[in-house]
Each structure stands twice: as C-alpha cells, then as structure tokens.
C-alpha cells in the first residue's frame, strides 16, 4: 500500500518529525515500511535513510508499507505526517 505526500513544512523533513516517522514505522514489526522520493527508496526504519532523502518543502514523498499490518502502519504514518504539519496527501 502507498500514499504520496507533498511536503509543506518549510524546513522539509527535519530531525524531530523524522524521529517520529521512524519510531512509528518501527512499531510495526512484521511490516516493511519504505520512503521513496527523488528516485531513491529507503527504509523508514532508519532515521539516516529518511534524512538522506534531503526532503524540502514542495517535494513529493511516497510512503510504502508491505506486510501483515500494512494498512494500520500506513494510517499511523499518515497521521504523523499530518499531525507534525509535514505534508498533505497529494492526489
């Protein structure tokens, strides 16, 4: 499953929200979670991976989940994106 977001936070994805995303992704043990942006795909369970995407305001980011709890995981991640004011769902 996947959802694409547009980054709206003027600082892009910085350390605090990246921490929240990684902590959330890590909660779902049996589910793989990835972030894809600018032609690069990284595991969402790595803060260095997420930061390495160098996301800035205006970029699009696709969150991908695969596994037994993929729907719950994607929901939880989407909630972090919106709650942290990071991004909006990009149709």
């Amino acid at each position: 499953m996947q959802t694409t977001f547009r980054i709206i936070d003027e600082d892009g994805i910085h350390a605090r929200p990246a921490t929240a995303l990684v902590n959330t992704a890590t909660k779902f043990k049996g589910t793989e979670a990835f972030a894809e942006a600018k032609g690069k795909k990284v595991t969402l369970k790595s803060i260095l991976g997420v930061l390495s995407l160098g996301l800035e305001a205006g970029d699009t980011l696709t969150l991908i989940t695969e596994g037994s709890e993929e729907a719950e995981a994607l929901n939880a991640l989407q909630e972090v994106m919106v709650k942290e004011g990071l991004g909006e769902v990009h149709e």
């Binding site: 350390a15 990684v22 260095l48 930061l51 800035e56 004011g85 909006e88």
Partner: protein
C-alpha cells in the same frame, strides 16, 4: 587587540576566567583484527554505554529544558540503533577483519559527507549530530576519557571551536557563565540551547580559540557580539555595570510576563504580538503576549507554486488559535500586491503598486482565492477567539462586500454541518486616510479597528517608505498622523468598539506614551518588544499622558512632538 566580535547568539553579559574546551584527538588507525567476534562485542559494548549516556542526557535535558530540547537526543538514540549505520559497520568488521573504531569512523564519515552536501542549510547542520554520535561511541572504543563541560566546578567562560549539542546540554548554569566559539551561527544547536539556558554566548568568532589561554579573563557580551580578552580594569567595570543593568531589566521584565498591562494610575491596555507563522506563537507566549494582534497570512501563500488549499490554511489557523489557548487572535486576510508579490498569480507589473491592485481590492475581484481563505478561517473559529480583519479598506462599500462574502461562506459551512463560532469579531485595518477620516461611519458596522501605521503614514505623507530619498517623511510623530489616530480611536469608543495598532509605531518607546494618552486599547508589536513596553506603561500615568497627547495634537512638527515626549517621560 583584545576585542574581537562574533555573532551574538544568546543575550546577556558574562565576565569570568576562560575554560578551554578541547575535544580529544580522534586519530584512527586501521588495524587488522584476528578475533572478529571480540571486535563485534567491543562495538556492542560501546554502543550500549553510549545509549546509557544518551538516555541520561536526554532525561536531564527533558527535566531542565523541556521536551523540545530533549528531542535531539532522541534522534541521536535512533542513530545509534540505525540499521543503515550499524549493519555496514558490522559487515565491515566481519568482511575486512578491521578494528571497530575504524569501521565505524569510515561508515559515519559517509553520512557526514552526505549531510554536508545537502542543499538545505538545516540538513547540512545535521552533519554535526552525526559527528557527535560517532565521537560518543569512539570515546568508549578508544578508551578516551573526555573532560566534559559537566565536570566544570568553578565559574568560567567556556571557549571552544564549536560546542556539540551534548556539550551544551552538559553545561552547568551555576558555573558556566557564558561561552564563545570559533564557528556556529544563530541557528546552530549550541546557540539555541544557550538561549534556553539563558547563558550569554557569542559564536562564530573565527579565532577566539587561538587568542585565549586557559585562565585568561574574558568578557562575553551576548548583546553586541563582542568578546574581550584580558580587559582593562575600566573595561571590566564598564561591562559589570552593563551586566547589572541588563540583569535588573531582565528580572523586571520576567516579573511582568504573566501580569496584565496596567499603567501607573490603573488603566488597562492589551499588548499583543504580530506573527507570520504558527511557529511564532511560542515567542508570543514566552514574552507574555496577551493575544495576537496581527497574524499576517501572506506567508502561507509565499514560497509555493500554487495557492494553499483550504485544508492547509485551516490547519495553520487552528494551530495558532489552539496554541494561544483562548487568547484573542486577529487574523488579517490576504494582503498581497504592492511590494509583496506572488509569482504564480501572474499579476501584471504596475507603475504604482502601493496604489494599485492589492489586498482587499484583489480579494474582492479574485473571489476564488478569498472565499477559500474565509472558509478556512470560519472553520478554525471553532478552536479559539478568532477575530478577522480586512486590509486596505478604503470605502464602506468594500467592507460590506467583504463582510457579505464572509456571511455567505458562514451560511454554506453551517449547511454543510461544519462548526463555526458565533462570536467572531470582524474589523478592518485603518491604513488609508479616507477610512481614518470616515471612521465614525465605519465604527457603526465594524467590531474593531486596527491601525496599520506603516501604510497610514506613507499614504498620508505621500511618501514611498521604500524610497530613501523621501525617508525623512516617514514621521510617526507628525501631529497629522496623531490627529488621524485620535479620530479613529474616538470614533470606535463612541460606538463602544475598540481600536488596536499593529504597525511598528505600536512598539516604539516614544510613541507608546502618546498612544496611551490618545486612548489606544490594543498595541500589537514584535513579541520581543512586549515586556519592555509593559514595563514602560506600568510607569506612565494614563491621565498625564492624555493631557500630554492633547498638547501634542496642537504642535506643528514631529520634532516638537518628540521633544515634548522626551521632556515629559523619564
């Protein structure tokens, strides 16, 4: 030369002996290891110890500085556990039979380099976090006993090349009176931490480390950005006096933070802050703002390639209202045009942009843009004390047209089942002389006025405030301006309404006595001006100022007005 300057990163003045904080030598040599498992165990042990330290620092920061400042250490903990870091290090040890410190350093350097090459300044600074975490683990791997700033036990000024976030978190306020570094900027971690610890700091001096020896007497002036090395007795006396004055003032301002704004003779006025983004609210609260007097919504529209959606706007407005916890928030609807451009609107270039198609003029024409903002505002109104004001109103007709659009959207939202507050105050900016002159008529229909002095002055004096050759005509104290302000305030009061001011003039120490005397109800200014203004007002008698303002209105020039205030106040 004993005086150098850098970037003033945290306010205050400190005088003390220098403590040179030097980081250990992390020269790493590649060695072949025979017992790979022992090397892996060594790595795990170092990671465990580092984790323990970080937990302690995180908890201590949490207790002393709060959640926000502790978050960085949460990120550091995640880096320690990051498979993208740890797996390659372990692989390297296994596959190349090399020492753990070498493997870690090699892999970590790749990440440091990656961050340094990023476009965003923020992400470039994350290289420091990466180094910080790596050094922590290396200390254990290399058996380095690093004398941390936490072990300082006498009053000092810390001198360093740079301070890492964990260095700064360990600074003991009782002993570390200030610090100064070779590198860093106002937004580096060390600077941010210094401000929350309220330790004076000057960063980015470039060479303080090479000029100062341990034990030298040093003065750090975090107000001006100056650092004095082995100052003369006269200099010490001068700065000690400056320090005492500053500390007294801070103590006084702090006491006023949670106090209402009351003049010496008991008249209450409201001091609010001007903000541009939801992030600014923290500063409003910290500086004791009684509300937001001007939320400039333009920033929501800037730096993007299309208009912000209703949802984005709703979230921003709601965040501000919630974080202000029921205190009033005056939101100004879109004020674009003039000197503020939006490339994606492709507005034609104008000969006289300040007299042209801007603000409410544009919004009434481009109703698609305006209605989206009004809907977002109306929906957000359920989350606090929202007040809406329209900018650049020149005629009553414009106000009525804007109000009608608002009422239409309100009805629509209610029909859609959305919650909208019933008590939204609706006002206008008074920045065009025609509106000021006709304020008595406007006052019957609006709930409040907010005087925008920058524009009111430039339109009244017919002087472009961007044009340096006519800058002398920017005269807030000109009796003509004061008379317009008085007309507006009196008109509002006659209808039982209130008047605020959200231009630079509202926070100006010479203007404040006059405005208090003219009966201004709300002063909205930059957050950092609030406490000084509250302190100033607490020493003024509103009755005396009323009499002084009446005199000022009868003077002929701005200079005479300023001289009158000087002679009466202080």
């Amino acid at each position: 030369m004993n005086k150098i300057s850098g970037i003033a990163a945290s306010a205050g003045i400190a005088v003390a002996r220098a403590f040179i904080l030097e980081h250990p030598d992390y020269t790493i040599t590649k060695t072949a290891v025979t017992d790979v498992d022992a090397e892996l165990a060594k790595l795990n042990d170092a990671l465990d110890k580092s984790r323990g330290e970080l937990q302690t620092i995180k908890e201590r920061t949490l207790a002393e500085l709060g959640e926000k400042k502790a978050e960085i250490f949460e990120s550091h903990l995640l880096i320690l556990d990051d498979p993208e870091l740890i797996t390659p290090v372990m692989d390297k040890i296994r596959e190349e039979s090399v020492n753990a410190d070498y493997a870690l350093n090699e892999v970590a350097n790749q990440f440091v380099e990656m961050f340094q090459n990023m476009k965003s300044a923020y992400l470039q600074e994350r290289a420091a976090d990466m180094r910080d975490v790596t050094k922590r683990v290396l200390n254990h791997l290399l058996g380095i006993h690093y004398v941390s700033p936490a072990e300082i036990s006498e009053e000092v000024i810390v001198i360093a090349l740079d301070l890492t976030p964990s260095d700064t978190a360990q600074l003991n306020r009782n002993f570390v009176k200030g610090f100064t570094t070779n590198i860093g900027g106002r937004t580096s971690h060390s600077a941010i931490m210094a401000r929350s610890l309220e330790i004076p700091a000057v960063v980015g001096t470039k060479n303080v480390m090479s000029l100062v020896k341990a034990g030298d007497l040093v003065i750090v002036d975090g107000l001006s950005g100056d650092v004095l090395i082995n100052p003369s007795e006269a200099e010490v006396a001068e700065y000690t006096a400056k320090q005492e004055a500053y500390n007294l003032q801070i103590a006084e301002w702090k006491k006023l933070r949670d106090e209402p704004t009351v003049s010496a003779d008991g008249k209450h006025v409201e001091l609010a802050a001007n903000i541009g983004t939801p992030n600014d609210v923290t500063g409003v609260i910290e500086n004791g703002g009684e509300g937001v007097g001007l939320y400039r919504t333009e920033f929501l529209y800037m730096g993007r390639d299309k208009l912000p959606s209703e949802e984005i706007q709703y979230n921003a407005y709601k965040t501000v209202l919630e974080n202000m916890q029921g205190k009033p928030v005056v939101v100004r609807t879109l004020d674009i045009g003039g000197d503020k451009e939006l490339p994606y609107l492709e507005l034609p270039k104008e000969m006289n942009p300040f007299l042209g198609y801007r603000a409410i003029r544009l919004c009434l024409d481009r109703q698609d843009i305006f209605r989206t903002q009004l809907r977002a505002l109306l929906r957000a109104s359920a989350h606090g004390d929202l007040r809406i004001m329209f900018p650049m109103i020149a005629t009553l007709g414009e106000f009525r047209a804007a109000r009608d659009l608002l009422l239409e959207e309100k009805t629509k939202l209610r029909e859609e089942g959305k919650e909208v507050s019933d008590s939204i105050q609706l006002g206008i900016m008074v920045e065009i002389p025609s509106t000021a002159v006709l304020a008595d008529q406007f006052a019957k229909e609006v709930d409040f006025f907010s005087i925008g002095t920058n524009d009111l002055i430039q339109y009244t004096m017919a002087a472009d405030r961007m044009n340096e050759q006519v800058a002398y005509l920017y005269q807030p104290y000109n009796p003509a301006i004061l008379r317009l302000v008085k007309i507006v305030i009196d008109a509002a009061h006659a209808e039982g309404k209130w008047t605020g001011m959200c231009g630079e003039m509202a926070g100006d120490a010479t203007a404040i006595p006059l405005l208090l005397g003219l009966g201004l109800d709300e002063f909205s200014m930059s957050a950092t001006s609030i406490l000084p203004a509250r302190s100033q007002i607490s020493k003024l008698s509103a009755a005396d100022m009323k009499e002084m303002a009446a005199q000022a209105l009868q003077l002929g020039t701005a200079e005479e007005v300023a001289a009158l205030v000087q002679s009466r106040v202080n």
